[in-house]
Symmetry: C2
Subunit: 319 residues, 2 copies
């Protein structure tokens, strides 16, 4: 397939059912979108072959899905509603065009599942496959949730199970023969589901003071909230939600599920800091209280009532 | 320098004087921008080492400048006003951090020169240096100029000299010792100036029917306008503006300046199609009438009154 045919094939798979907010989509010099709220939320992130994914561990549709999901998770972490995606891809000459098209299909599906149309992109040659996605969103009712805002006495809440992404990667890389026994772990790594609806609900609660998504690991990302807010936190490891599959996989493989939950990456669960009065509502939305904000700076982690050192406090970094 | 120091150094060089439209800039999960017009214009494009640039031909600041400029040129080609840039970069381990920081400085300067702040980005490892930029803009008075809209009898106008980008690349690659004699050519390739002000003026003229920027070559990009509009065109090569340096360089090097103007790339001049009544005003803005739109489809090129074949009618493509 030549370049023009590849671009035409990509256009076909990313074409959605039509969104009235998309006034001009793919095919002109730039896209034009209606922004009713008067504000736009924008973020960009890349998946690079050999750095963020390996072809032997992920299907092409998974790579595209994840490239969209990691960006939509950042939109969710502002409490905003997704609007559109743009995707610039770098394609090595050796990669079959069908894999490129499949990756773009996965991207479009992840976007469609969360209300974002693919409105633009670029195809370039490159030494490895890379997808750089920009996600655009809109705040609801003019409110966004930032990293800064956590106050002493607030509660730290996790939006779902932690550690599944890192253990999913370990599973795929070292025990691929166990794949059918741990489908949730594999899916957590390959096709994370950004918590867009949860972020939108949290943005409407007055008592949610800070929000971030866990992409580099709980310790690292909570650290960003603490630094931006000028506070500290006390985490109770006994309260950190870990998926039963993760616990079982850790036992069988000799991995440490708690370490994965604290310092693993690729979870894309939201992490909120809220006033105590809103905890019941947050819990009704599926969140779990895992610690408290303290006036004393720094992060303390308690395990069995004792303070423990956190391995890899910098989180889990690709670069 | 480690990753955090590199990101901090980048933040320092991209920090602008402060734009009231930027409500949340770099440092949170996503940027938040005020969009007063109710519409956002968005585009993304990448510069990849070894594909779009070579380190021996460009300084790091040039690479960053150009990564911004090619995107700002797409915003200009919609007749829109630049608002913000996001830049996702891939950095090989062998590239000195000072070069990365210099590239980001060049990006920020090109943005600042055209009213766009750097509001977000991402740093990743990668096998070669790559900068994927997303540019956001806003239409003025609700009007954008598309590729479709050219009508028979309209006039084709070029926003400036053509062919300088391709000849500038040839100069840098094959005659670097001549660099001081052809500073405009070198600059056209290394630091193209997107025609943002011209695009904004054209958007306010009712009689401009179509607009695009010349990135793949005049023939290829005019071809996009013709295809989108369902018309043809007749170009008169004698009217195509070619810079005196380009003519002189072509004579000395044995290159064909007209071929570079027709099929070379990297010019980033606007190409407008307008009703005859607005030609004097377009000319007063520095544009040059180079041909006419015809009802008969296809592109005819006249040279000395004779129809000529156009070499590389597909334009000049990187991938």
């Amino acid at each position: 397939m030549d370049e023009f045919r590849l671009i035409e094939a990509i256009r076909r798979v990313v074409r959605g059912p039509g969104d009235p907010r998309v006034q001009i989509g793919i095919g002109d010099d730039a896209a034009v979108l209606a922004v009713r709220s008067g504000q736009i939320v924008a973020t960009t992130d890349a998946l690079v072959e050999g750095v963020h994914f390996r072809w032997d561990l992920c299907r092409p549709t998974d790579v595209g899905w994840k490239a969209a999901a990691v960006n939509l998770s950042d939109i969710a972490a502002m409490g905003a509603r997704p609007l559109a995606l743009l995707a610039a891809i770098e394609v090595p000459a050796t990669l079959p065009d069908r894999d490129v098209v499949a990756a773009m299909r996965g991207l479009a599906r992840a976007g469609a599942a969360h209300g974002a149309s693919v409105v633009g992109g670029n195809v370039s040659a490159g030494p490895v496959f890379a997808m750089t996605v920009t996600a655009l969103g809109e705040p609801v009712d003019g409110r966004v949730l930032r990293r800064a805002g956590a106050r002493p006495g607030d509660v730290v809440l996790a939006g779902g199970f932690l550690g599944s992404g890192a253990l999913g990667l370990d599973l795929l890389g070292t025990h691929p023969d166990w794949l059918r026994r741990f489908p949730t772990l594999a899916r957590s790594y390959r096709r994370p589901a950004p918590q867009v609806d949860l972020g939108l609900r949290l943005a409407t609660l007055g008592e949610v003071h800070a929000l971030i998504d866990v992409s580099d690991g709980l310790v690292a990302d909570l650290g960003h909230v603490l630094a931006a807010s000028g506070v500290g936190a006390l985490l109770d490891t006994a309260r950190i939600p870990i998926h039963p599959e993760a616990l079982r996989y850790a036992r069988m493989s000799g991995q440490d599920a708690l370490a994965a939950a604290l310092s693993g990456g690729d979870d894309y669960r939201l992490l909120a800091v809220a006033g105590p009065s809103s905890v019941p509502l947050c819990e009704s939305l599926g969140m779990t209280a895992i610690g408290a904000i303290t006036a004393r700076r720094g992060l303390a982690v308690l395990s069995g009532g004792k303070r423990v050192a956190v391995a890899g406090a910098g989180g889990w970094r690709h670069r």
